[in-house]
Amino acid sequence: MILASFGEDLIRAILQGTPPGTVYALIGLGFVLTYKTSGVFNLAFGAQAYISAAMFFKARQDWEWGIVPALILSVFVLAPAIGLILERLIFRNLRTASAVSKLVIAIGLSVALPALFEIVADYKPVAGRSPTGIVPNGSSVFYDPLGVYPFSRDELAQIAVAVLGMLLLGAIFRFTAAGLAMRAVVESPRMTELAGIPADRISALAWAISSMFAGMAGVLIAPRLPTLISTDFFTLVIVAMAAAALGRLVSLPRALIGGLGLGWFIAIFRTFLPRWSDDYTWLEPFEDNLAPSLPFVVLFGVLVFWPAIRRSIDATDPLSGVDPPPPALASSTRHPLLTMQTRAFGVAFFLLVGWLAFFRADGRWVFLLTQAVILSIIYLSITVITGFAGQISLCQGAFAAIGGFTVFQMADRYDMSVLLAALIGAFIAALVGALLSLPVLRLGGVWLAIATLAFAFFFDAVMVQASWVGGGGTALLSGTEVPRPVLGPIDFGASDRTFLALAIVVFIIVAIGVIQLREGTIGRTLRALRGSEVAAESIGISPARARIIAFAVSAFIAGLGGALLSMQQKNVNYSTNFSPVAALFWLVLVVSLSARTVEGAGQAGFAFALFGPLILEGSLLEWLPFLNEDNLPSFFPISAKWRFVLFGLTAIQFARHPEGMLEFGKRRATHKRNERYYARDAARAAAAELAQ
């Protein structure tokens, strides 16, 4: 009897898990397809899916088109068009770029594309307007073959497309010359061309097909979401990554089975998980949040414990030696005179801004400037891990949140000094960072980025809910309040200007530490590892040790910055400040400006805090003598979404200029002036020789 009910529960769980499993499978398939045909670890897959889904939604509901024309427009016209544009403008030029640079670009796109679409198509997600599927009455007509779980028409359509898609795509790869050529282009475009195959045309075809599949997946998945929001698609892609990882990114059938298996596993787990929390109440927040976080746990587990993934290092292009190596930092080649000029200009600039901030600016500008300085501190953590160690970490938001929450908890519970609490928070973040780096470091490259992202989502789903981290129920009522510090006679809460001064001092200390790290043994070790891990190991450098330190230092800095940010806003404000998706934008910003220098982090901090008010809201123009608030051109204020579009698209430059746009500009300018100065030196030396 018990056995019979167990069997029924199991079957129900499996059937229940099938529809979400199909969604994971669809995305997993699309992900594998894009990776196989373009070599891009396409985190923008969710963005592409979202755009087609939103287009379909708009055509159906706002324009009241029929299903077929709406489907043709969104999936068979718009989606491949976007794919072709991306290929032509971006990915064609970086076929030989490293997997990590392509990942950064895809992250930039996943930030930029949804915002761009929403601006261009004038689309806004409105709660309560639910998307509909591609079959009439898809969500209201059910079929219940086994009498255990009823499938809606939408769900059946998803299952059919997933299975047919896998068979069709599998056939393309197996039996057609184009399929073989697509794989060849991914591995080495140059060798493919040596075989007489036009790599450009093949990769355009690949992008058109995979984008179409992304669009199809988006339209099919949309009815599962109550409201069509781009971040939901992004999260779904991360979840489905576990499916794609099981297929090692190359096997379509495994991605399908992996996706379904993930859906089944989660449903079975939910059905049969015993309620330990009835006996141990402290377990409650974990158990409540375990189910929604399971996909991230599974993803993390698959990445860390699936040995095949570590072995699936990208096949390197045998002809990659045709490209020249990356250039040195601009500042390392500067003429001494130029260095002096740059420094003098920097000092003058900061004195001017400081004077304005402390004596002329009103409360709003002081607040924004303080935010800029604190964000610059957090961004220094990205400088360390990405700029120096060359690893993409997508959980800097979680580290910063650890700092913020520690300050909140320590002050709330023990009434501890917040400055001390901030240091403790930074140490806890460093510890978490070091522990996290142990399992993920072996992964390296793209998989490390995804594992850290899985950690960020896990932190988001489980840890933040726990009362001893995010405050739990009490935080919902009273918020996560954080006081400003008091140091002896100075009360940093009394005046925002003194707090700005504190932030600047901390920034300077951290910046000096970061520069010391770069110039010291650790920095040199990390640079050697970036150059060639094999070569570095052969001269006795341990990659693990250097990278664990880099991770811990980076987490420490992020934690410290997060604590300061919480103090400044007098609240942790987790979801606006530190959520995984918000932290993605940080990375995009830092990397697109300059990830290898301290100035780069500073510029990124200022760009984040001040680009909106200064440029998009037109404040910079208001300060011009002949303009004021009332006679600004009518297109101000510009939509804040442009910030995502502009910086997201700047990240595209990462592959061509991995040092960042600002660093690239600096190098060009430096090069020109250097030539002039050195020419003058040479002329002088020659003249002196003549005179003798």
Partner: protein
């Protein structure tokens, strides 16, 4: 009068800030064979890359069959009948041995030509036939070299460019490769051979060009490429 199959006119080439070739000119007539010799870093590989369109010339021009191909893409060189076996393990590492061969033969010989060509490749290198389903990246260095060569040897292109032809191959296999090369030369394929085994190359090719610091320092019939010339060449590399 027929056009030369390949003509480089005053070609320079660079990798970023590093200039590798300084005004190289050479011609190869249809069916002719040229051995390119030179010390390490003399620019041999770059000449081969420019000849197959992998690296584009920063100045000067490249003609294939009398047509200016200077700005053309690599695949257009291949479609014009130039086949280049790059140095080292130049195979698609995630493909099986057979997929590696099929990819190239499919374009060059059409769907019908593929099975016969694959069999011919296996006849040439039986070792590959034993491993036709194996992933190419797991082959030994010598086997990968065979695979890379099998592709260009079987296609019988109008001009075959082979870089560091014998590097990594067992001596007995090198002998076989050279036999095959001399037999396909008989069918009208022109050869551009970059080689460290000077004696093999001199035996096979009618002509020799010596490359020194990115320029051609001597060119003439193999018979005249005396020991002295060759010695001069390798000495100059140590300067």
């Amino acid at each position: 009068m027929t056009n030369p199959i390949l003509e480089l006119r005053d070609v320079s080439a660079e990798y970023g800030p590093f200039r590798a070739l300084f005004g190289v000119s050479l011609t190869i007539e249809p069916g002719a064979s040229l051995a390119l010799l030179g010390a390490n870093g003399a620019g041999k590989t770059t000449v081969a890359r420019v000849a197959s369109g992998l690296v584009s010339a920063s100045s000067g021009s490249v003609f294939v069959d009398g047509v200016d191909m200077t700005t053309k893409r690599t695949y257009e060189f291949a479609q014009a009948g130039l086949a280049h076996a790059p140095e080292g393990r130049s195979v698609f590492a995630t493909f099986t041995v057979e997929e590696n061969l099929v990819l190239s033969f499919r374009r060059a010989l059409g769907r019908r030509g593929v099975p016969a060509a694959v069999e011919e490749a296996y006849a040439l290198f039986p070792r590959l036939g034993e491993r036709r389903r194996q992933i190419a990246g797991t082959l030994s260095g010598g086997e990968q070299r065979m695979l890379s060569l099998a592709r260009v040897l079987v296609e019988k292109p109008r001009l075959l460019i082979a870089d560091e032809l014998s590097l990594g191959l067992a001596p007995i296999v090198v002998d076989e490769v050279y036999e095959t090369l001399s037999s396909i030369r008989g069918t009208g394929t022109a050869l551009l051979i970059v080689e460290q085994h000077v004696h093999h190359a001199l035996e096979l090719c009618d002509e020799v060009a010596l490359l020194d610091h990115g320029t051609i320092s001597w060119r003439g019939p193999s018979a005249e490429a005396t020991e002295a010339v060759v010695n001069h060449l390798f000495d100059s590399g140590d300067r």
